[in-house]
Symmetry: D2
Subunit: 139 residues, 4 copies
């Protein structure tokens, strides 16, 4: 079985309210860029927030890290490249943000999510089958 | 029956992420300052978001206006003075934001909310009795 | 001289962080949608934030109003239709936000901006010529 | 020379707009809580954003990590405990966020900042003396 393409490239345009008095995007706003890209990534696999809810699982972020290499600026769109790299016991997505016009690397990072069974409020130590089915992977 | 004091003065400290590249608080962030002040105002009357939900009503904003007189800046706390001025058919709250250290007026505005009966999803054309009871007013 | 087209239609996708515990976009976030649309509108006329700065003028918002007719929800893109309707002494932009898939009207509103001469910090009681040149209008 | 107290405990009240459709504070908003606490921490040492600028240095975040143990909820204030733990070549601040009413641990994390010489735009491989003077430490 061939490995599916678990990547997505998401274009985000920093807005005026994202930029701080130093003239660069405030570091916390890159978490929004990660979120927008990850949401689009999972929707490609028909497992967006709505489908997650319908499947009986919530997927909270339990760990996030961002490293800042260079700064995004107003009016320069960025591309958030993201990829699911773990799916057995938890979901790990890795990110690289690049300036769209130059390809210059701005930010790298990852997020880790675990499944919560909504009915029991219990954390799942193994990811549920529905995730693997949607991503087209096996554990 | 004496009129109750339907006012609240709420101190907010603009943070770095609230300030735009012009060095002033981005105009949209004052809506957050209104929100924080209004939430505290209604909690004084034991009718915060939690109690609203328990009472069977939601109170969405249907109209908001802000006029900007001068700019809030980083590190200068502001005081949001707010007051309930209408409660019969809808709730109107009026706001004046002043720089705390100087008393200088920065922003004025209002919000209008209507009651939605959560069970029926219907808008109420008259405010529910629970509002008047909590505020200590009569319609 | 024919009147130029001073309109723009800007698509915005509400993200998870825009949505409140009621499951609808928090009312203050529509100010961000206005901002994104207005920024794109002025860039069409080669008078974005960067060009504003180069022209020696800043254009702060002095008045904003939003009326909420229906609610935007997660995952349903909206279209922000905006139009410059005044440019003589101040700039007034009017907005209508519609759900993209249905055309349903969600929000209406306006913003008013005045020109500030950056060098003198003085407010201009008449809009500067550069605005009219860029928009292709006369006062 | 005794070691100075490089800690600060900062109370933050999650607002309605911080809470997501799951009824908990959206994970990205904790970066704002870190920011508010760190800003207050450095102001205690007379080295807030304003003083940083006056000293000729900017201190961008180059690395941030957050681990989520439990969720903050609306209306429950949290305390952000933060501490400067490195200051020689870079500044590392560590954070623990606890629910104020119960002391329950919600989030842990750190930020790493480096000094940029504003005049030359160069990154400093050793922190400038002004930092150590303000913190009352030696390298």
């Amino acid at each position: 079985m061939s490995t599916p393409d678990l990547t997505h490239a998401h274009v985000v345009r920093p807005e005026f309210y994202d930029v701080d008095p130093m003239g660069i995007v405030w570091h916390g706003n890159y978490v929004k860029f990660f979120e927008a890209a990850r949401a689009a990534l999972f929707e490609k696999f028909n497992y967006g927030y709505r489908q997650m809810g319908e499947s009986g699982y919530a997927w909270p972020i339990v760990d996030i890290r961002l490293k800042y290499v260079a700064s995004a600026t107003y009016g320069e769109p960025v591309v958030v490249h993201c990829k699911v790299v773990e799916w057995e016991n938890r979901v790990r997505v890795e990110y690289v943000i690049r300036e769209q016009s130059t390809g210059r690397k701005l930010t790298t990072g990852y997020t880790i999510q675990v499944a919560i069974d909504v009915a029991t409020r219990e954390m799942c130590y193994v990811c549920p089958q529905v995730l693997w089915d949607r991503l087209g992977v096996s554990a």
